[in-house]
């Protein structure tokens, strides 16, 4: 439990102001109006049950709903929780959980000032 609290504190601290911005429901240009579980705030869609079971066991679902990440970054976060925060192996549920997260809590598309466009960036 102590580990879970630490995780929450870490994540919250990382992007406190950003999180507040991202907490809004779907972006205005999204026509999808997903059903949201009033208790957890999580979108009710395929994978919801697994996310509720595996993730909410340790931390508040609000730590999910406040974030916006690509599938790769959600996976990195899961690995980090497994490496350092005592998250158990997700097994067959992992792809479903990743799909759910990337679909409903994918990268932010809005910004007051986005990063420079890829073609203007230094070549790797």
């Amino acid at each position: 439990m102590r580990n879970c609290r630490l995780l929450i504190a870490l994540l919250m601290g990382l992007a406190a102001s950003e999180l507040a911005m991202a907490q809004k429901s779907p972006t205005p240009h999204t026509t999808r109006q997903p059903k949201v579980d009033p208790q957890s705030g999580l979108v009710i869609a395929e994978g919801y049950n697994m996310v509720a079971a595996h993730c909410s066991a340790c931390h508040s679902p609000s730590l999910i709903t406040q974030n916006a990440m690509s599938r790769e970054r959600w996976l990195e976060t899961i690995r980090w929780m497994q490496d350092t925060q005592k998250l158990w192996p997700l097994g067959d549920a992992e792809p479903t959980i990743l799909d759910y997260l990337a679909t409903w809590y994918g990268p932010k598309t809005q910004s007051r000032r986005p990063p420079l466009a890829p073609h203007l960036m230094p070549k790797p």
Binding site: R112, R113, L116, H119, P122
Partner: protein, 433 residues
């Protein structure tokens, strides 16, 4: 064929490049339309080029300009097409490095269909309207013979330059930074012509009509008909121009005759100019009303719906700057200082200072800045920056006008149509040890 950048090919000879790269040929006089080769272009693009017959020679399809296909090895020229009907194309920042923008690097913003083959010998300009003392028609030769000629370097910037950064997104061509330029223009003063015709005391606005057709090709329906208040019309630098950089105007930029109002939204500078009306009211032509070229009269939160009657006409463009050297994405050795240069302009005043920052706006250093060649001409800044260690940097530029107004670092006041984004320009630099 030697592997060369698409941009360098186009820089050398755009018409030849069209043929060499895409196997297309265009009309030799108007440089418009593909007489052949559309198929191979479509194969390369992986999509059919709808309205390809209207696409001018020498423009690189946007699909290529920003991807890592073999054709995008960095070169030195080429506009990026945003829209092919009507033709709209912008210039990458590093290609706007010249003090005086060459015709080949001035952006193209069209609202309608470009006239087929305008004939300067038979071209006429008519001045009329409620507040004109009479209706008078001049041939191009008469204009040149009867009025004194003036040459000014004047900045033209599309009101929607920078729209691509708007969030929530604004509709329209998604201009990034390249809908601006400052060529040298030659013509007669609009005020000399208006005064020769006679301006009544109740005049408040002038409106223009051009020879471009509405996209629907509906006869008599103007694609765009905007204008300026009398005070702007009567400025010394407000021209009826026939030349850009001592050569006839390019067809895409209004050949053979156009208005030029430096520092105001370029949409006020009517192209293919056929008629000017002196109005006793604010001109109500196409794209003067509704939300076109207007911003909310009172500031609004991003995404707000604004009623037409609460939208006000944009006049002078805000203070702004552009880094034209180095090119964004450049790699630079830590051991040597980096020269950074570009231009700064402001529609209502001179630019007083330009600053650059390499630490995301935490500290700023003042650049050297030239005085404008004449009112409404952009100014040039230059500075040298030294990097403390290797890594990823952004160089930002911020101009400040003589009234102390500076560029914001984030998107300024959101507006429904995405105008007036003068947020500071940013380029990326990779500093290597």
């Amino acid at each position: 064929m030697k592997k060369r950048g698409l941009h360098s090919l186009y820089a050398k000879d755009p018409v030849h490049a069209d043929e060499a790269v895409f196997g297309r040929t265009s009309h030799h006089v108007t440089r418009r339309g593909f007489l052949s080769g559309l198929k191979s272009l479509s194969v390369l693009l992986g999509a059919e080029v709808v309205y390809g017959q209207f696409m001018p020679a020498g423009l690189i399809p946007a699909a290529f300009a920003q991807t890592d296909t073999p054709f995008t090895i960095e070169g030195k020229d080429g506009l990026v097409v945003l829209n092919d009907r009507p033709i709209n194309a912008e210039t990458p920042a590093h290609l706007l490095d010249d003090d005086v923008t060459p015709a080949s690097r001035l952006f193209v913003r069209n609202n309608g269909i470009v006239p087929e083959s305008p004939d300067p010998k038979t071209w006429t300009l008519t001045i009329e309207g409620e507040s004109a003392a009479q209706s008078r028609t001049f041939t191009l030769d008469e204009l040149k013979a009867q009025f004194k000629h003036y040459t000014y370097q004047l900045t033209l910037e599309c009101g929607g330059n920078g729209r691509a950064e708007f969030s929530p997104a604004a509709t329209g061509n998604q201009w990034t930074t390249g809908a601006v330029g400052c060529p040298s223009w030659t013509g007669v003063r609009l005020k000399d012509v208006l005064n020769a015709v006679g301006v009544k005391d109740d005049a408040v606005y002038i409106g223009y009509y051009g020879d471009d057709q509405h996209l629907s090709r509906t006869p008599g329906k103007a694609a765009i008909s905007r204008g300026v208040p009398m005070s702007k019309a009567m400025e010394d630098e407000s021209l009826i121009a026939w030349a850009m950089n001592d050569a006839p105007l390019p067809l895409m930029n209004g050949y053979p005759l156009r208005l030029v109002f430096g520092g105001w939204p370029a949409s006020t500078s009517g192209k293919w100019l056929k008629k000017i009306v002196i109005r006793n009211q604010v001109h109500d032509g196409a794209k003067m009303l509704g939300k076109a070229y207007r911003t909310p009269c009172k500031p609004v939160a991003p995404g707000t719906k604004v009623a037409d009657e609460d939208m006000c006409i944009i006049e002078a463009m805000p203070v702004k700057s552009l880094i034209t050297y180095p090119q964004s994405g450049t790699a630079h050795a830590l051991s040597s200082p980096l020269e950074v240069r570009g231009h700064a302009w402001c529609g209502s005043a001179s630019v007083e200072k330009v600053y650059t920052s390499i630490d995301f706006g935490q500290t700023w250093q003042q650049a050297r800045l030239t005085r404008p060649k004449n009112r409404h001409a952009w100014q040039h800044f230059k500075t040298t920056v030294t990097f403390p260690q290797a890594g990823y940097y952004e160089v930002w530029a911020k101009a400040e006008d003589e009234n102390g107004r500076a560029q914001p670092m984030v998107l300024p006041g959101w507006n429904p149509k995405g105008y007036l984004n003068n947020a500071c320009h940013r380029i990326a630099v990779s500093v290597t040890a």
